[in-house]
Amino acid sequence: MTRMHRRPAMRARTGGHIDRDTTLTFRFDGRELTGHPGDTLASALLAHGVRIVGRSFKYHRPRGIYTAGPEEPNALAGIGTGARRTPNTKMTAAELYQGMVAESQNRWPSLRFDALAVNSALARFLPAGFYYKTFMWPASFWEKVYEPAIRRAAGLGRAATEPDPDHYEAAHAHCDVLVVGAGAAGLAAARAAGESGARVILAEQDFLLGGGLLADPVHEGWRREMTAALEALGNVVRMPRTTVFGYYEQNMLGAIERVADHLPEPPPHTARQRYWTIRAREVVLATGADERLIAFPGNDRPGVMLAGAARAYANRFGVLAGRRAVLFTNNDAAYATVEALAAAGADRVTVVDTRPLGPAAAAARTRGVEVLPGHEVVGAHGGRGLYSVEARARGGDGGFQIDADLLCVSGGYNPAIHLASQSRTPLAWDSGIAAFVPGTAAGQRSAGAARGRFGIAAAARDGMEAGGAAAAAAGFARRPAFELPAGGADPDLTVAPFWEVTARGKSFVDLQHDVTTADIRLAHREGYEHIEHAKRYTTHGMATDQGKTGGLVGAAVLAEARGLPVEAVGMPTFRPYVTPITWGAVAGHHIRREFAPIRRTQLHDWHVRRGAEFLEAGLWLRPAFYPRPGEAPWDAILREGAAVRRSVGICDVSTLGKIDLQGADAAFFLDRLYMNTFSTLAVGRARYGLMLREDGMVFDDGTTTRLADDHFFITTTTANAGRVMEHMEFHAQTVWPELDVQFTSVTDQWAAMSVAGPNARRTLAKVVAGLDLDNAAFPFMGVADATLAGCPVRVFRISFSGELAFEVATPAGYAAIVWEAILEAGREFAIEPYGVEALGLLRIEKGHVAGAELNGQTTAADVGLERMAKKKGDFVGKALAGRPGLTDPARPRLVGVRAVAPDQQIRPGAHLLEAGSDRSLGWLASVTKSVEPGGWIGLALLSGGAARHGQRLQASFPLHGESVEVEICSPHFVDPENARVRA
């Protein structure tokens, strides 16, 4: 910034909203260039006379800067380097900063020579619908030929491949009046609403407030006065660099605030962007208007630009977009560009006006401007830049050349109705301006150019009224008073529509997706005549610019082909996002480890120290097994399982869902929720329960303990804890609100550990105080309070493994003390901690069902638990469990499976077939290597069930080409008489 730089050739000495005292250096395609604060990348490039800034998507035609705002179709760049490179950034909206590194896109190897420009020569073979037609046949070509070719050629820009180093925030805001857009209408609306006392948010996508005023030196005084007045109002929040991208129900709008995109990188601890969710009582849409293009051959050449853009570059940035300009217009407003170019030092401007000589043209002539009324442009010539424009009398033959390096085009203005349309506000055709305008809806109004009130004074007046009305609707009656802009009459903006010049050559209606008028007509001929079909067939309006400059022109071409007025054809539905937004902003902080919360048990640190391998169970991290150094996973799992079968093991089961239930009707409530009975359960006893869904399928299982007549303690599976809670709440609050029940989740309040194995009692007896663990005093399914190592515990004599077992629960804070004390007590019995894998091994050996069997598609009878159903009384799922389909005796039932060759692995999901048959009789739900029976065993659901015990079937897994011989047996591989748990 300290070096002296020469003034770029196309930069005026004075004027505009740039700070010439500061010079910024930046790189474009490796070339070092300069600009000033206040520049966009586009204005700085134009100041240096850069004409080609990209290649088009399909034909790789050279393209230049076309607009001066976010509606830009051509000038897309990758900005930033390495992990911070952002593709598809609109140069026309990218605020220049010191050191910016920008790269043009869609060209290889360089902008000036592009290898894929051969597509342009092949254009007649790349019509609309090309992708759909060409790549259909032969099918065998798809993977090897077509897809790689498409992948090389398709896509805009390249995303960074490294992780995004920046962070993004989500924020919420509420206001009385949200004003979207800070042009003349938006400034007036915000001030009117603000002075009434309403809380106002003024969101503007640009980095400066003013909109069209920024290209209008005549009203600069008023703009400054308005921005100063807004700054002084404490109840008005101005949000520049904030794009409102979506309008959702109940006046909720989404916006992206680009907090640090105008800096080389975000300052420390600052988000790059902020994703705003704004809820507003009233919304004023002052989103302005987009100038529309005219379709004529060569309307995509570098050097062709919308008239308003050329004016903005001259007046806002002090940049002359060309020295010898032609203006092609069908309206008076575009004549302001003639003045702007002349003032910025253009050598000559020639006006090609489609209309007969009118007042604006006559006035221009008196100032010495050459005007060709009743003419049209039929060609723009040049390769990498424009050197001549071909014009002719309208509809005439032949044509003549006008030497030119800039062609400014104006086909009129479309109100920017995207947000209004998203909110389902009705749109109406305004024939005066040949465009759709939005109506009003509850809590919403459009103002200024966004509803066709063009011109600074008219827009400001409309904005002031809309802002006052919005504030009044939000309950702020005070009427504001401030000066509206004086000086400069508003131009007459009524237009006779002029969409297209019919002449030979490619006339583009969508520059970014290379859609021509011929493509639209082809779509119509091939039957895609609805606007939504034509859009998808041609991809017209589907690019990142959403067809803001050519969308209506394409609709008009389609309308002409159909013989209908354009308003009858209409526009395709507008949807979010109005302009593209960064994925990072959508994701916010919900990335990587913060994608979802992690739940850790109280004993997590102990598991880590012990070297546990963890697995995710829902949000929980649970120890899978605890490998010793060098030990293979299965060796560890079998060692842990064997310890439980032979002596004693301990397992952290704190993740089980736990619900404390109280109330006079608690027992009755449980009888309704579970298929078995709890009202008969004695205090101090636990019972296994099975819960159905109302459709008759098994929902969840677990043990429930009666602590007092009106007090129960429920456990659920880890996976279903939240769902069971919601199920109970639904029934307590909406189905049986008359019941006196209260319940709350206590999952996190209690730590729980299972102590299992023949030596479980001997282990616990050493450390449990205040409770006789003897079988007679504390039988199977008994529950009692005690102390352990001085800590309060509740001991449950329940078993999942099939061994003598106790579950010890303690208030969460005592977990580590209790756990360590039990380990110490079990040391003489070689106690082993065991993880979820051994837990699964043990329960499969025992034949206990779990999530793989209770998968939402199985009934109680399917898993062999039908006898639990109570005979009397209602319960959830009772009626529909009796449906014929669910009581069909041919349904697959729970069986055990063992590999005939014990070392032969079997897989969950394998289908069970008779040898030589391909008819599935059932499937394997859970498998494990086993300790007690030895070899691979599993639990399966098999049609015929117990009748097939002893049969040999094939466990077939076609994905792996596997078929393993298995023998069907009882699911109870261990202690079928249930003697051990009662020992």
């Binding site: 919420h172 959702y248 129900e249 109940q250 909720m252 969710t277 809820r279 389902r424 109302e694 459709d695 809670m725 919601e726 709440e729 639904f730 609050q733 909406t734 189905v735 609100p737 009384g873 209602d874 009772k878 009626a879 529909l880 009796g882 449906r883």
Partner: protein, 91 residues
């Protein structure tokens, strides 16, 4: 995104709620038979217009909120407690 007024918590963002479907169906009596329960579980009107439905304030007070919502416009006419009878607008 809806703004749903929870009778206990006040206006809250839709993100705090879980949808739980039609609030106009009532669980039949225990002896009503399979067909009645079949309708209770599966048969829904799917109206285009006003609909009374359950929203569970799952990330809030854990209460079920009765909501009268327009399925086309997403307008919300009324919210209330489970035992409230809410007026449904004519159209």
């Amino acid at each position: 995104m809806h703004l749903i007024t929870c009778p206990w918590c006040g206006p809250r963002d839709e993100a705090e709620f879980a949808y739980r479907g039609d609030a106009t169906v009532a669980r039949p009596a225990a002896d009503a038979g399979i067909d009645a329960f079949y309708d209770y579980v599966y048969t829904r009107a799917n109206p285009r217009g006003w609909h009374t439905e359950w929203w569970h304030h799952a990330a809030g007070c854990h209460q079920f909120v009765k909501v009268v919502r327009h399925t086309l416009t997403h307008a919300i006419a009324a919210t209330g407690k489970p035992t409230d009878t809410l007026p449904v607008p004519a159209e």
